[in-house]
């Protein structure tokens, strides 16, 4: 499919929107998989990937910004 870039969805606008709402949805994701076990056994959670997940959240940044571990609830770290 074709995704159109034009005056209404410039890179700056997209990045700003992600900066505003991105951390919220990532935090919400981690909360949801902490609250209950994901039915998808391959979903990226600490339960499904006990060693790799920890390394992953500590080493990868969300959308090029803060590392994912900042969004992980304390109980899940």
């Amino acid at each position: 499919m074709a995704y159109r870039l034009h005056g209404g969805n410039t890179l700056a606008k997209l990045e700003k929107g992600c900066d505003l709402e991105g951390p919220q949805i990532i935090a919400h994701y981690f909360e949801s998989v902490t609250r209950e076990k994901a039915s998808n056994v391959l979903a990226p959670t600490a339960y499904n990937w006990p060693r790799y997940f920890d390394w992953f959240v500590r080493n990868y940044p969300h959308d090029g910004a803060n590392r994912l571990v900042h969004f992980v609830p304390a109980a899940m770290r």
């Binding site: 995704y3 159109r4 034009h6 969805n9 709402e21 949805i25 790799y52 920890d54 969300h62």
Partner: protein, 746 residues
């Protein structure tokens, strides 16, 4: 106990009249005086010969009557009937019976008795005791002098007391056996006077009594007892002695010398006159008693004050001495403290110096400690980091193992491709390679070692492919196209770029699988998969277009849906309150696509998520797809994705995205947005599943890239009210919910 036959001899007389030695004489005459006698005193060294209990009774009597032994006030007759007096009489009965009940002849003396005779006479009558009295007189001058010395009494009062005691003793013993004895006469002739007493009172004079009289006269009495040197007539010379006293004394002395009878009319008349005089002055005597009582009270108070003053003076002296002592001690202590303070100040000064040095040392030590702590912390952090890194590397190593295998497989493919290239005799193939070599040589690279060293060659090819230089990538792309044509012409091999199966099987089986390094989707690839899958039994696909102020693009979007090769599609357009002419454009476009079942709804602006959700509510299809009003589909998109999802039994799929400009033409890979997307896509092989990459980057790009089954939508629900990332949020919810075999990316 003697009852009825008892007899008592009572010695009566004024104080200091010699009643004690004369009473002792009664003892010589056989009169029992009792065992409990008052002890001798300095003023009466041979003893008082008074019964202690009877003395106490007389004292209590006087107290009840409000009198003292030295009172001159008369005792009125009605006072003897006071209840307290009657009560005391019972006590007196008991005392007399207890002490003298066994003696037929007993006696007692107390100068107070002369004024208390009505009480005692009543008692003797009650007890049936016969009474006898010895009336003792002494020169009033001797009595007054003695009382002045002993009791500081005024001689005038002593004369008055002498007269009262003498008159009342005489009056109250009238008609009773009695004898008047002059003390001075008895002292001069004791044996004679004792025999006189015995005769007058009818006391027996047997030899034993005679012996006792002799013993009394020779042993008991001595000249020391005779205190007075006055002659009887001297009283007339004392101007302080009233005539009544001197006359009464003269009269009673004559009775004592047996010159007159005690009961003669002359004596009775004289004493009666004296009694009348005393009675007449009774009120004055009472007043005198009161004055004396007041005087005595004041005197006692003065004495108490004086005693207290003396005591206080003594205490003041002691306090002064104590203060002097304390001041001396304080001076000594202050002096000692001054010395101690001086020593302490010296020690404190030295301690301050020591403390200063210690503090400086402590500061230095603390600084060194802080440095060591910081160094230790750095080491600890470094150690932790190393540990963590080690652990991470270990984990990563585990994860990378299959990826290494994957890379090895990819290398094998590339190696095969290189082998085909090197072994090809085709001029068309070699020409681009030579061009490539020339370009590389032009860039100053050594081609021979690169091309002949396989790892280096592979790395070089990857570098070239990822390069943004058209000059470098063009030859490679040409080779790629030629190889592709050649492969299709020679054998129906599996397209190496179709990664969908690899990825889906990865997720389905939960383990990494060998996969191509690059992830590319093209319409041609979709076409190949989709061919022959569309049929009349194909399920309905609902395409939802949320429209908002995209009048320039929304027509193109609708046309792209109408151009899909899938037969069973319904189109739902929701305009979210566009302010431009989107609505008319939409209506015209839907007219053009009249063969496409469609619905068009408008609403006030609520956001893209609200428009999508409204479309989802209306949609009837088994599959649900979204197309934003500024994007468009490639013609075979839906059939291609659908065929894959049905074949692999997937519930959610998305494809690679081409980025286009406002004119609808593809943007170069150098476009920043496009470049970021491709970089993310290229990193996919780093992760065990596409889910990990989705946490880092919205690989779907847009909700227009979604195709999902209704059953999945019913589990996931509607879009959340996010303005920018409602599509990403939806994908993350999808990521958690479906079964493992229901997720795929394309």
């Amino acid at each position: 106990m003697q009852v009825g036959g008892q007899r008592v001899v009572v010695a009566l007389g004024m104080h200091r009249s010699g009643t004690s030695p004369i009473t002792r004489g009664l003892k010589a005459l056989g009169v029992e005086l009792g065992e409990d006698l008052m002890p001798a005193a300095p003023e009466n060294p041979t003893g008082f010969w008074e019964d202690a209990a009877l003395y106490e009774l007389n004292e209590r009597l006087l107290a009840i009557l409000g009198r003292a032994w030295y009172s001159v006030a008369p005792i009125q007759s009605e006072m003897w009937n006071l209840p307290e007096i009657q009560a005391l009489k019972l006590k007196a009965v008991e005392t007399v019976r207890t002490r003298f009940g066994n003696f037929p002849l007993w006696g007692f003396k107390d100068p107070r008795t002369a004024r208390l005779l009505p009480f005692w006479k009543d008692l003797f009558k009650h007890l049936g005791i016969a009474e006898s009295y010895v009336l003792i007189i002494r020169n009033p001058i001797s009595v007054a002098r003695s009382l002045k010395v002993r009791n500081l009494l005024a001689v005038e009062k002593s004369y008055l007391l002498w007269l009262q005691h003498s008159v009342e003793a005489y009056d109250n013993t009238c008609g009773m056996p009695r004898v008047v004895v002059d003390y001075d006469v008895l002292m001069a002739h004791p044996a004679e006077q004792l025999r006189r007493i015995a005769e007058r009172l009818a006391l027996p004079l047997d030899p034993t009594v005679e012996d006792a009289i002799k013993d009394y006269a020779h042993r008991f009495l001595d000249d020391g007892l005779r205190h007075s040197v006055f002659e009887p007539t001297d009283v007339h010379l004392d101007i302080h002695a009233p005539d009544l006293v001197s006359n009464t004394y003269d009269l009673l002395r004559q009775v004592a010398l047996d010159q007159l009878d005690a009961d003669s009319k002359d004596v009775q008349s004289a004493l009666s006159s004296a009694r009348s005089g005393l009675v007449g002055f009774g009120p004055f005597f009472l007043h005198l008693d009161h004055l004396e009582a007041d005087r005595d009270s004041i005197r006692r108070e003065l004495e108490e004050v004086r005693d207290k003053s003396i005591q206080l003076t003594g205490e003041v002296v002691q306090l002064r001495e104590a203060i002097v002592g304390i001041e001396a001690e304080r001076k000594f202590e202050l002096s000692a403290r001054d010395r101690q303070n001086a020593e302490l100040a010296d020690r404190v000064s030295r301690a301050d110096d020591d403390l200063l040095q210690i503090r400086e040392k402590l500061h230095r030590t603390l600084a060194e400690l802080e440095t060591l702590k910081a160094q230790n912390e750095v080491l600890r952090v470094a150690t932790e980091a190393l540990k963590s890194n080690d652990e991470s590397l270990r984990s990563e190593s585990e994860v990378l193992k299959p990826l290494v295998q994957l890379q090895a497989d990819a290398n094998a493919i590339l190696r095969s491709e290189l082998h085909n290239l090197w072994n090809s005799w085709s001029w068309r193939i070699f020409r681009p390679l030579r061009n490539l070599v020339r370009k590389l040589q032009g860039l100053g690279k050594e081609t021979e070692p690169i091309l002949h060293s396989e790892p280096h060659a592979i790395q070089t090819l990857i570098t070239i492919r990822q390069s943004l230089s058209w000059e470098l990538t063009a030859p490679l792309r040409l080779i790629y196209r030629m190889l592709s044509r050649r492969r299709r012409a020679t054998a129906p091999s599996k397209p190496i770029k179709l990664v969908m199966q690899h990825l889906s099987s990865d997720i389905a089986e939960g383990r990494p699988q060998p996969r191509p390094r690059s992830v590319v989707s093209h319409r041609s690839d979709f076409h190949e998969v989709a061919q022959g899958l569309d049929s009349p039994s194909s399920p309905l696909i609902s395409v939802i277009i949320p429209s908002y102020n995209h009048s320039m693009f929304v027509g193109h979007a609708i046309d792209s849906v109408a151009a899909q090769d899938h037969a069973s599609i319904e189109l739902i357009v929701i305009d979210d309150g566009s302010a431009d002419n989107s609505i008319s454009i939409i209506e015209e476009s839907l007219k053009r696509a009249s063969s496409l079942p469609s619905e068009f709804h408008t609403q006030q602006n609520q956001g893209a998520h609200a428009a999508i959700n409204r479309g989802l509510e209306i949609a009837r299809g088994e599959y649900l797809s979204i197309l934003n009003s500024d994007d468009y589909y490639y013609p075979r998109r839906l059939s291609t994705l659908l065929s894959y999802m049905r074949a692999a039994d997937k519930q959610f799929a998305f494809s690679e995205v081409d980025h286009v400009g406002p004119d609808g033409l593809k943007l170069p890979d150098t476009n920043h947005v496009r470049f970021g997307y491709l970089s993310a896509l290229a990193s996919l092989p780093q992760f065990p599943t596409v889910g990990f990459l989705l946490l880092l980057y919205n690989l779907t790009v847009t909700s227009g890239n979604f195709l999902l089954r209704r059953s999945l939508f019913e589990r996931i629900g509607f879009f959340q009210p996010y303005r920018f990332v409602h599509d990403w949020e939806y994908v993350l919810r999808v990521l958690v919910r479906p079964n493992p075999d229901s997720f795929a990316s394309l």
